[in-house]
């Protein structure tokens, strides 16, 4: 068994001093194996965004260990951190965070430019990634010429174009309508099915239902860690979709909530 993609031990994050002291994380330990699809859930103030920023190497925890692909992040200097962010982690933000006045293609090429990939290969990989998210006809559009859903798909393409070990998505559907939400989640499902490790932060049960594993945070502590599907298999929704099409329930599903949501999605698929 290879090293887990993600391993955090006793993460503590404290903001501020004295009376203004806020303990955002109070000892979080979590291990994510390769190919897993984890949803981190929690109300606002539960510390999930703080956790996300630490997992993405954007912030440094007050204490605790963090390993990405077996590398201890705490021991890295700034330059090495930049390389780690570039090679190992793909980011999808709630507010898309595309660079304005740069075409979709240029945005997707950007991480490879920082990674030192040659121009020709960069172009080819960016086009492939955009095709994967279904935006081949929009490559020369700038972010302000794209809809929210399209922008988020560009962001997903940008996150996966470097083939990162870990895809981090911070409320990726928070700013999207239900139709675009479905599009983006479907793409994430597909990526998970192809073996990509995904960690998604959300407060919507609907979104969490797509994950193979749900981790619930309350007040900076993990209160629930529930597996919905095996890490090596298909994500639950795809499994359901597949079984509906073949006419047999595989029986991997547990929990009524997930089941109902899956039925709705399957129904939409059948109608479409």
């Amino acid at each position: 068994m290879t090293a887990p993609v993600l391993e955090v031990r006793d993460l503590v994050m404290v903001y501020g001093e004295g009376d203004a002291r806020v303990r955002a994380l109070r000892g979080v330990s979590l291990t994510v194996e390769k190919g897993d699809y984890v949803a981190i859930m929690g109300a606002s103030g539960s510390g999930k965004s703080t956790l996300m920023n630490i997992l993405g190497c954007l912030d440094v925890p007050t204490s605790g260990a963090y390993l990405v692909d077996g590398t201890d992040v705490g021991a890295l200097n700034e330059k090495q951190l930049a390389i780690l962010r570039n090679r190992k982690i793909g980011f999808v933000f709630q507010s898309f965070n595309l660079i304005p006045r740069m075409s979709a293609l240029a945005n997707v090429e950007l991480p490879m430019a920082y990674g030192g990939v040659g121009a020709a290969e960069r172009r080819a990989r960016a086009l492939a990634a955009l095709e994967q998210v279904g935006l081949s006809d929009r490559i020369h559009h700038e972010p302000n010429e794209l809809s929210g859903g399209q922008q988020q798909r560009v962001a997903v393409a940008r996150a996966l174009v470097t083939s990162p070990a870990l895809l981090l998505a911070d409320e990726p559907t928070g700013n999207l309508d239900s139709r675009s939400t479905e599009d983006v989640l479907e793409i994430l499902d597909g990526l998970s099915a192809s073996g990509r490790t995904i960690v998604i932060i959300t407060h919507e049960d609907d979104v969490a239902a797509h994950a193979k594993r749900v981790v619930r945070l309350v007040d900076g502590r993990i209160v629930e860690d529930r597996r919905q599907a095996p890490a090596e298999g298909l994500p639950p929704r795809m499994a359901v979709r597949k079984s509906t099409m073949t006419g047999t329930m595989t029986g991997t599903m547990t929990g009524t909530m997930t089941g109902t949501a899956a039925d709705t999605a399957a129904g939409a698929e059948a109608a479409g």
Binding site: K79, A82, R85, I89, N97, L110, T162
Partner: protein, 415 residues
Amino acid sequence: MSPLEILRFALRGLAANKLRSFLTTLGILIGVAAVILLVAFGEGASQSIQQSIQRLGANTLTVSASFAGGGGGFGGGGGVRQSGPRTQARQLTLEDARALADPEQAPSVKSVSPVVTANSSAAVHEGASHTISQLVGTYPSYFEATNKPVETGTYFVNDDVLAARKVMVIGKTVAEALFGAVSPVGRQVSVSGVPFTVVGVLKESGSSGMQDADDVAVVPLPAVQQSLTGFGPLGSIIVQATGAETADSAQAEVTAILDQRHGITPTGTADYRILNQAALQETVSSTIGVFTTLLGAVAAISLLVGGIGITNIMLVTVTERTREIGIRKAIGAPRGAILGQFLVESTVLSLVGGLSGLAVAFAGTRFTIAGIEPVLVPSSIVLALGVSVGIGLFFGSYPANRAAKLRPIQALRHE
């Protein structure tokens, strides 16, 4: 991350805000153009003044009487006499001039020309009249010493001086005023009723400063003394040294001879003064040098202001693009790439400003302003361009550093 890539990002960043980039560039443009132009004008002025000094004659010493000092050896110098005219001060005489021409005592002296000047003499020729501002009575060596070649006709010669012939070499302005287009050579001009025959016309030397150097007439010394000024003291003695190197030794020799003849002790004040053309030239060029430096300094200040403009604009840009910087960092931009991008942006701004400033300066130096033809000084071009690039790097480094140092999480949260 190749440097080319960084340059591409930088150019894209600049193109995103064209007006702002243009205005910032303008600041540097004006600074660089001002430095190069003002230094070029300073240099032009310096050269033109040097030329007009040289026109007065090279390697010459002008000895003139000075009443500020008195000779020693005359007793009875009471305090009462201090304010009155120094009767004991001696004028320059023809004998002084002859003594200076002695090749044994003054080996560095090539020629000596005693000069008597009559100012504002009315000259008439067939009804046309003109006031000659300088009527000079002298020896033929005067022409060479003061660099006044004859254009048409001839010089007068030593025989003319000995015979006190009333012949005259006139300047261009006088020739035009009295004769118009007609050749003046061989014609008569009467100055204060005394008829002179024009034998030559001087080559035009151009006006130097306020005085028209061509409004002049040169006649043999005795002729002007006889008819106009009388046989009084000399106005000045023009001494030509044998070469530029001997000008100083010639001055020493002249001083020695005159001190002896006028009875001036080493501690006494001389009753004459010597104007050394070479020394004058040196003084003038150092003065002009100071002015050029001052002009350059003023222009350099505008270059500095332009540089501060770059810092200002880059700071605004960094603040405005904080979020973008955060995104770039989140997707793995190393610190060097961010630093490079903003440094290149500011350097491109200042370099483009510098180059266009150079173009403006080149265009500007094609014009003659206030009679001064600007002369481009290569070192000022190199300096101004180098400084403008340096300004981009220096004034851009603070904002660029600030951008590079941003923590990604703070940058991303920035609205």
